[in-house]
């Protein structure tokens, strides 16, 4: 080993630019391959959304001969992607608001107030992260049905919010603990009540934590699949479907009707807002998701 080390030292790699530059070229080669593997399928879907069905059938790799926006409008209107989009937006807006409000309330009390049962309540919330959602699927279906909420948007909203609580409470409890107590004490001395303290002082101070866990929850809820397909069934439920469901149903129907371009257009419509939002806030999204997984 010592001999080997000696011989290497005589020709330090730093002095020979071609040899030293090689690793970088090498790295870029591999990194580019994976970048292409990641993006090409997405680009392919976007390009296919402008093709005619015949172009899709005859040359999967060809470019569209013109920009056929009518595929998009057909997907939006006739395949009801527009309606599913709206349903998704309604459910996620409601659920996210509810999750963040209730989660912050519970986390704040658990982090900052001493009372009997504090630990029990905390572990009841956090323990929910350890159970696979499949275990709850059958009873949940009946709970929601017995409440008369099967196949309704409010029902789905409440379920999304409930299943987002464990991670939210866990993350925000830790966050509220890190906030300085001096500010809270000063406010109390100035006559600020418990409610005022929370809404006017602690909540604004917790903004960075709220943003991180909010992004995590948004993606969890927007991309949810198993909960809607279990809970949005029954008579007339198709009108209340969310995007994930509508898209997969479209993929199944497309086989019968042969409307390939409509399917790709629907896929692109579902994909672009999320990608655009991600590109705008990629730093926050990455750190939010990483924080959520590294709990």
């Amino acid at each position: 080993m010592a001999v080997l080390t000696e011989t290497r030292r005589q020709t330090p790699p730093v002095e020979t630019p071609p040899a030293a530059a090689r690793p970088a070229v090498f790295s870029h080669l591999f990194l580019t391959v994976w970048a292409l593997l990641t993006t090409l399928p997405l680009v392919w879907a976007v390009l296919s959304s402008f093709k005619s069905d015949e172009e899709i059938l005859t040359s999967p790799w060809g470019l569209p001969s013109e920009l056929r926006w009518e595929n998009w409008s057909r997907a939006w209107n006739e395949a009801h992607i527009g309606r599913y989009f709206l349903n998704s937006a309604l459910v996620v807006t409601g659920a996210l608001t509810l999750t963040m409000l209730l989660g912050a309330m519970a986390a704040y009390v658990l982090a900052r107030y001493r009372f009997r049962g504090n630990r029990i309540v905390y572990y009841a919330f956090v323990g929910g992260m350890m159970f696979p959602v499949f275990l709850a699927l059958v009873p949940l279906f009946f709970v929601v049905r017995n409440l008369g909420m099967l196949g309704t948007l409010p029902g789905l909203t409440l379920v999304y919010a409930a299943y987002s609580l464990p991670i939210t409470v866990f993350f925000l409890t830790a966050f509220f603990r890190t906030l300085p107590t001096s500010v809270a004490e000063a406010a109390m001395v100035d006559g600020c009540g418990h409610f005022g303290l929370f809404f006017r002082i602690m909540l604004p101070m917790a903004r960075p934590g709220l943003v991180s866990v909010g992004i995590f929850n948004f993606l969890f809820q927007w991309n949810q699949y198993v909960l809607p397909i279990v809970l949005m069934q029954g008579e007339g439920a198709e009108r209340k479907w969310v995007l994930a469901q509508g898209l997969t149903a479209l993929a199944v129907n497309e086989g019968y009707r042969g409307d390939f371009s409509g399917l790709f257009a629907g896929m692109t419509i579902a994909m672009l807002p999320v990608i655009a939002g991600y590109l705008l806030f990629h730093r926050q999204v990455q750190s939010g998701l990483a924080a959520g997984q590294l709990r």
């Binding site: 939002g277 990483a290 997984q293």
Partner: protein, 301 residues
């Protein structure tokens, strides 16, 4: 004092109610239902003890599905973590080594942004997209094979029991690698550069530095990645249901899909709950096992 109690109650009761109704009560009921022969339609059912679990032991479809989850459990974490480490180390230390030291590659930020794309897309979009990519005539994969003259390799990927499972595995790896590249490369940022420089001066190859320096120093992150990928492998429901629906002839079936079909297609809710309980214990065992196996002395810097 009363004000404080009132405040605690107002803040805790609404979230607890929501959580209790939709999360705690279903989980608790699952264990209870798993001991019944409830078919869901009739209000009456009998308590049949552990019969459902006995039936599970002799259920060929369940074992077939479980075998696929087992394969995923072996292959998905290993493949994803290896690819993740490989690309992450290229991003963090794969750049030119010069007088100033070891660098990340140029455009590291770009790669991190692009690799993360599948992570923000929903499983529904990814599933439908890949289903179309695998399509025999219109798909991108066969299109590419035909374009380079490999017509013989163009297959009906999802229609062939020999390939369907592997097609699903490829999608699961594809959708997860990017996240772990970002995670690992973030962990690698905290490794002091001079460690690499010293190793390179001593004549260590890139592979050696990866195995001897990088991996031990990001071991904590690898361990977490392993547990999460294992959880994804035990699930696998959405991608399988969308791409192959478990077929052809159950060649890509997974336990989650068994549960879903047993409950919502066959209406055997008692038996489906038993599958759910089995999945729960499987998750628990795997998490405990991995934490045991991957335990290693932490390297302090």
């Amino acid at each position: 004092m009363r004000g404080k109690r009132l405040f605690i109650a107002t803040f805790l009761i609404p979230p607890l109610l929501l959580y209790g109704i939709f999360v705690i009560s279903p989980y608790a009921q699952a264990f209870q239902i798993s001991g019944t022969n409830w078919s869901g339609l009739s209000p009456t059912y009998e308590f049949i003890g552990l019969d459902n679990f006995q039936r599970l032991l002799g259920d060929g479809y369940f074992w077939n599905a479980l075998r696929h989850n087992g394969l995923l459990l072996l292959l998905l974490p290993v493949a994803t973590i290896l690819l993740g480490l490989f690309f992450a180390s290229m991003i963090s230390v794969g750049g030119r080594a010069d007088r100033v030291g070891v660098h990340g590659v140029r455009g590291a930020g770009f790669y991190r942004i692009v690799y993360f794309f599948p992570q923000v897309l929903s499983v529904a979009i990814i599933g439908v997209l890949w289903k179309e990519m695998y399509a025999p005539h219109t798909g991108m994969i066969n299109g590419a094979l035909r374009a380079v003259g490999l017509d013989g390799l163009a297959m009906a990927w999802l229609g062939d029991p020999r390939f369907s499972f592997w097609c699903v595995l490829v999608v699961l790896i594809w959708m997860n690698v990017g996240f772990y590249v970002v995670l690992f490369s973030a962990a690698m940022q905290s490794i002091p550069r001079d460690l690499y420089e010293a190793a390179l001066l001593d004549g260590a190859s890139r592979v050696t530095t990866l195995v001897r320096i990088t991996v031990p120093l990001v071991w904590d992150t690898i361990q977490v990645a392993w547990v999460y990928l294992a959880i994804i492998a035990i699930d696998g429901f959405a991608i399988v249901q969308i791409i192959t629906d478990g077929g052809p002839s159950s060649s890509s079936d997974v336990v989650g899909l068994r549960l879903y079909k047993t409950a919502f297609a066959d209406g055997q809710f008692g038996y489906a709950s038993a599958i759910g309980v089995a999945m729960f214990f499987l998750t628990l065992t795997v998490a405990a096992m991995f934490l045991q196996v991957t335990r290693r002395d932490r390297v302090e810097l």
